[in-house]
């Protein structure tokens, strides 16, 4: 039996892209990542907080991000995630994939 199950396939794929993109701006803790994505997407995208931490830990294992404890803006201990070189490369890949996907979908929509 698989140990964990993705809740939403689409989100699972894009979540990595969104998180990597967010961290490209600089190190951030988990809560900060949800707020950032929500803000930048003008409230369209809401990260499902439940799937965020499994995703972050997996990316950490894959070596895309590294993590360390730090102090947040309002003086709380928080775990900060930082993009690694491997993560940056992965981000490029995922962006390209995403573009291809959206183009594909756009073509389909136009032709229909």
């Amino acid at each position: 039996m698989p140990l964990f199950k993705p809740k939403n396939d689409l989100l699972q794929g894009t979540l990595a892209l969104l998180v990597l993109k967010t961290l490209a701006r600089g190190p951030l803790h988990g809560y900060g990542i949800t707020i950032h994505i929500q803000m930048v997407s003008k409230d369209i995208l809401r990260v499902e907080e439940g799937s965020l931490y499994p995703a972050l830990h997996r990316m950490e294992q894959d070596g895309w991000v590294s993590a360390e404890w730090g102090i947040s803006e309002n003086n709380r201990r928080a775990r900060y995630y930082r993009l690694t070189a491997k993560g940056r490369k992965q981000l490029g890949e995922e962006e390209k994939n995403w573009e291809r996907l959206t183009q594909g979908v756009a073509h389909v929509l136009q032709s229909a």
Partner: protein, 888 residues
């Protein structure tokens, strides 16, 4: 994350748990603080944060699961992945596992038999230094001829390679007193017999050196079985006296439960001993003129001495004895045989052949699974390509595929071992009981280690090629071509074709072997034993000399017994013989035909001697070829007449009328001037004395008065089931003498079946393995053709759409199958020619390259293989072009 970090992580798991708690808590607190800032009440803010986050425990577990997964090594991740992949295609998994279970199970079963028979420690101290020492005569080749006492004494005093030598000869004695009279098989042995084997009695002192002094030799050691059955395991048996043939013997020990000593070749009774009595040579045993060859000799090599050294030294001793006693030892040499080889000798070639056969079955099974994996790999090529594209290394992919193979092998091996437990007992049940003396076959550590080894080897064997090809496929090519026509696809197709050819070839080798054995067996059972075996009961009666000390008493007893048995309703006739055919026993000696010049004793013709009762030839249904049978007078008193068999006439009296010839038969004496020659009065048909697979030997028959023997086998020809007559016959014996036991009860049909048992055993098992191989190879070629048809569905659809007929499509598909089949048959015939020679010792009346067998099994294999191709070929003709084209 490096290994070290992961290891450290594992050690600090609690701290990590704590970290995770704190991370999630800080998230909730930050959300709650923001909510508060947005104007919610503190409870609302906390509640909303919690709600958005969902079930904290669940999230924590999900997240921790990710962490734990990371800690576990990648192998276990591969393992889990492999398990999922196998679950996802249950059909494939079932076929692969079953195939492997068959292969591994058959191997383990045969290995467990080999382990028990060939590798198991013998119940003696340092058994590898024990050897049998036989005489053998260059003119009458029997490599394991029994030994004469004077020669034994000379060997013992002249050799320097053995630390000790012991002799054994067995007989049947009557055990009386406390309970029914019982005939027991007793081995008379030298007093050093047990100490040479390094075996101490379970209880009692055993034989001591003083038992070697004349007058102190009346001591016996009981077998464990006899002690338990006859004496109820009496712990105070040692020191007690028992009656053997009416003479008291003192029990000095009981042998350990697992101890036994039975060397079939030298045994005079053909049965396992129940008792050992110490024996000291009387004066007559020192004289070549007074005693023949009848003992079995075992010796222990000096530490460091080798079997070959012993053989060389014994050759030298034998050639000196030849010069010293040319009359007695002319042409006689010595044959030294390691004990282990002696014991397993009969079954060893058969078991090794079977072991080779199951190894072939496993190879075929591996090729089958490998082929299935290749087919699957092709459809998973895109999965692999994508994994490579996102950074998985070749090694990583190969490892993952190998893990799937190993997992398959492990499941198959597990089921295989379970099959083997049942299978080896089935082997035991089918095995010749007169050859294989095992009550059960143990699954010890060695067998398990073998099974595990075979499993892992199989897993690597069938997993290697598919994973190698997958790991070396080019991503770009794969993605472009959609998996078809890529170089890896070509390599796969080639490998699968090669596998099918190899499978068919291997199967043909097994079929050939099995075909040759079947033909041998048919030849064997087609042989006329020379007498009618049906409705014939045999049992043995031995008269104790204490009570039947004179020839007159013996003759009177048997005359009365045969008269009584013949009168029983349902008995058509009854007679007796000293050594009836197919019991593996016999007496042979030198015969001098007086019309021929005298020769040294060792150069004279040799013939079996059979002592017979009235109506013997009629009871056995042995035809008279010339002259006449014994008349009533000759059967009542010594008249110096003999009847010879056809083989004797053909070999020693070619072109001479045998009737009226006189023959000096060296049975009662070795000095010709003491022998009263017998006149040949008749010639009878040949009988296969030692078994159907040995040619009839020259034989002379004497009526009972000519050589009065106290132990005879009674032969009863019945109208109905002979076994129904056993209790009546026993009754008749005990009506005359209530102290007399009846022994070795069997029907002649049973004896015949026993003599064929080794051939039947080998034929049966090899036949089963060959059938399994044929099925597996057919599944192999079926799978390949069916897969190709699926792959070419589109092409076939187009062809049909363009007007191809069913016939054309059928031919298209069958051509490939035919090509592979013919190639497989060709490879198989070549391999079978090389391998069938190994069977030579198991064959009878058939050459190892018998063209009829080769042609027959080739045709059978080709037919079955083409049948297997025909099924997918027919489905190819049913391809609906529209469906095929719309697909993809």
């Amino acid at each position: 994350m490096s290994w070290i970090a992961r290891l450290r992580g594992m050690l600090r798991r609690e701290r990590l748990d704590h970290d995770l708690d704190e991370e999630l808590r800080s998230h909730l607190e930050m959300r709650a603080a923001d909510n508060l800032a947005a104007g919610m009440s503190p409870e609302e803010a906390r509640y909303e944060a919690q709600k958005r986050f969902g079930n904290t425990t669940l999230q924590k577990e999900d997240t921790r699961a990710v962490d734990i997964l990371g800690w576990l090594d990648e192998g276990s991740r591969d393992f889990r992945h492999a398990l999922r992949m196998l679950q996802r295609s249950p059909g494939f998994t079932a076929v692969a596992v079953l195939t492997l279970a068959l292969g591994i199970g058959a191997n383990t079963a045969i290995f467990s038999v080999i382990n028990s028979v060939l590798l198991h420690p013998l119940p003696y101290h340092d058994p590898d230094n024990l050897v049998m020492v036989w005489e053998n005569n260059s003119q009458h080749p029997n490599p394991h001829n029994t030994v004469s006492p004077p020669n034994f004494l000379d060997w013992q005093s002249r050799n320097t390679v053995f630390s000790s030598m012991a002799f054994i000869f067995d007989g049947r004695d009557n055990l009386t007193g406390n309970g029914d009279p019982q005939e027991v098989v007793v081995q008379a042995v030298s007093i050093n017999f047990f100490s040479l084997l390094g075996v101490d009695p379970l209880i009692g002192p055993g034989f001591t050196p003083e038992n070697g002094q004349p007058g102190h030799a009346n001591v016996v050691i009981l077998s464990y079985g006899l002690w338990k059955e006859r004496f109820a395991g009496d712990p105070a048996i040692v020191g007690k006296s028992i009656l053997l043939n009416g003479r008291p013997q003192t029990v000095v020990g009981v042998a350990p439960q697992n101890f036994q000593w039975f060397i079939k070749d030298g045994s005079l009774t053909g049965a396992r001993p129940q008792m050992w009595s110490s024996f000291v040579f009387p004066q007559s045993f020192h004289d070549h003129k007074q005693i023949g060859r009848f003992m079995t000799v075992v010796a222990r090599l000096h530490p460091g001495a080798r079997h070959s050294q012993a053989q060389i030294q014994m050759n030298a001793i034998a050639s000196r004895l030849e010069q010293e006693y040319p009359d007695f030892d002319g042409h006689w040499g010595v044959n030294v045989v390691p004990l282990r080889q002696q014991i397993s000798g009969d079954l060893r070639p058969a078991l090794l052949v079977l072991f080779g056969a199951v190894a072939f079955v496993l190879l075929i099974a591996c090729a089958n699974v490998s082929s299935l994996l290749l087919a699957r790999a092709a459809s998973r090529e895109r999965e692999m390509a994508i994994r490579t594209a996102i950074g998985a290394s070749r090694w990583r992919i190969a490892r993952q595929l190998l893990m799937e193979s190993l997992l398959l092998a492990l499941i198959g091996g597990g089921i295989g071992v379970a099959l083997a437990v049942g299978g080896s007992n089935a082997v035991l049940a089918a095995s010749p009981r007169n050859l294989l003396d095992l009550r059960s076959i143990s699954m010890d550590l060695r067998v398990l280690a073998f099974a595990v080894g075979a499993t892992l080897l199989a897993g690597l064997l069938f997993g290697f090629l598919p994973s190698y090809i997958s790991a070396h496929s080019r991503i770009s090519e794969t993605l472009k071509e959609g998996g078809r026509g890529s170089s890896s696809a070509n390599r796969r197709a080639f490998a699968r074709n090669a596998f099918v050819v190899a499978q068919l070839g291997l199967a043909l080798v097994l079929l050939t072997g099995s075909g040759l054995l079947i033909r041998s067996f048919v030849r064997l059972i087609g042989i006329d034993p020379g007498f009618a075996t049906g409705h014939l009961l045999t049992f043995k009666v031995a008269l104790p000399p204490s009570k039947y000390g004179t020839d007159q008493l013996c003759m009177a007893f048997f005359r009365q017994l045969l008269a009584r048995i013949s009168a029983v309703p349902g008995v058509r006739s009854a007679s007796m013989e000293s050594f009836p055919p197919l019991t593996g026993l016999g007496a042979a000696t030198a015969v001098h035909l007086l019309s021929q010049p005298p020769l040294a004793l060792s150069d004279l013709p040799v013939a079996n001697v059979g002592v017979v009762g009235p109506d013997y030839f009629a009871t056995m249904n042995i035809p008279l070829r010339a002259g006449r049978l014994f008349n009533a007078q000759e059967l009542a008193e010594e008249k110096h007449v003999t009847i010879i068999n056809q083989a004797f006439a053909d070999k020693y009296l070619q072109g001479i009328n045998p009737l009226g010839q006189k023959a000096a038969i060296y049975m009662k004496s070795f000095a010709e001037n003491e022998i009263q020659p017998s006149e040949i009065i008749g010639v009878v048909g040949d009988v296969h004395q030692s078994g159907l697979d040995t040619a009839p030997e020259p034989t002379v028959y004497w009526p009972h008065p000519e050589l009065v023997m106290s132990g005879m086998t009674i032969l009863v020809r019945t109208s109905n089931d002979p076994l129904a007559m056993v209790s009546r016959a026993r009754n008749e014996v005990q009506q005359i003498d209530p102290e007399l036991p009846v022994a070795a009860v069997a029907t002649m049909d049973q004896l015949l079946a026993d003599s064929l048992s080794r051939s039947r055993f080998t034929m049966l098992l090899l036949g089963i393995f060959a059938a399994v191989a044929l099925v597996l190879a057919s599944v192999g070629i079926y799978g390949l053709i069916a897969y190709n048809v699926t792959q070419r569905r589109q092409e076939l659809g187009i062809r049909i759409a363009l007007g191809a007929q069913r016939r054309d499509v059928l031919r298209l598909v069958l051509v490939q199958g035919t090509r592979l089949t013919l190639l497989g048959v060709a490879v198989g015939v070549l391999a079978a020619l090389a391998f069938s020679r190994l069977l030579a010792t198991l064959l009878f009346g058939v050459s190892a390259t018998d063209p009829l067998t080769f042609a027959g099994v080739s045709a059978l294999l080709a037919f079955v293989a083409l049948l297997a191709c025909f099924i997918p070929a027919r489905s190819a003709t049913r391809v609906d072009p529209i469906v095929a084209l719309r697909h993809e």
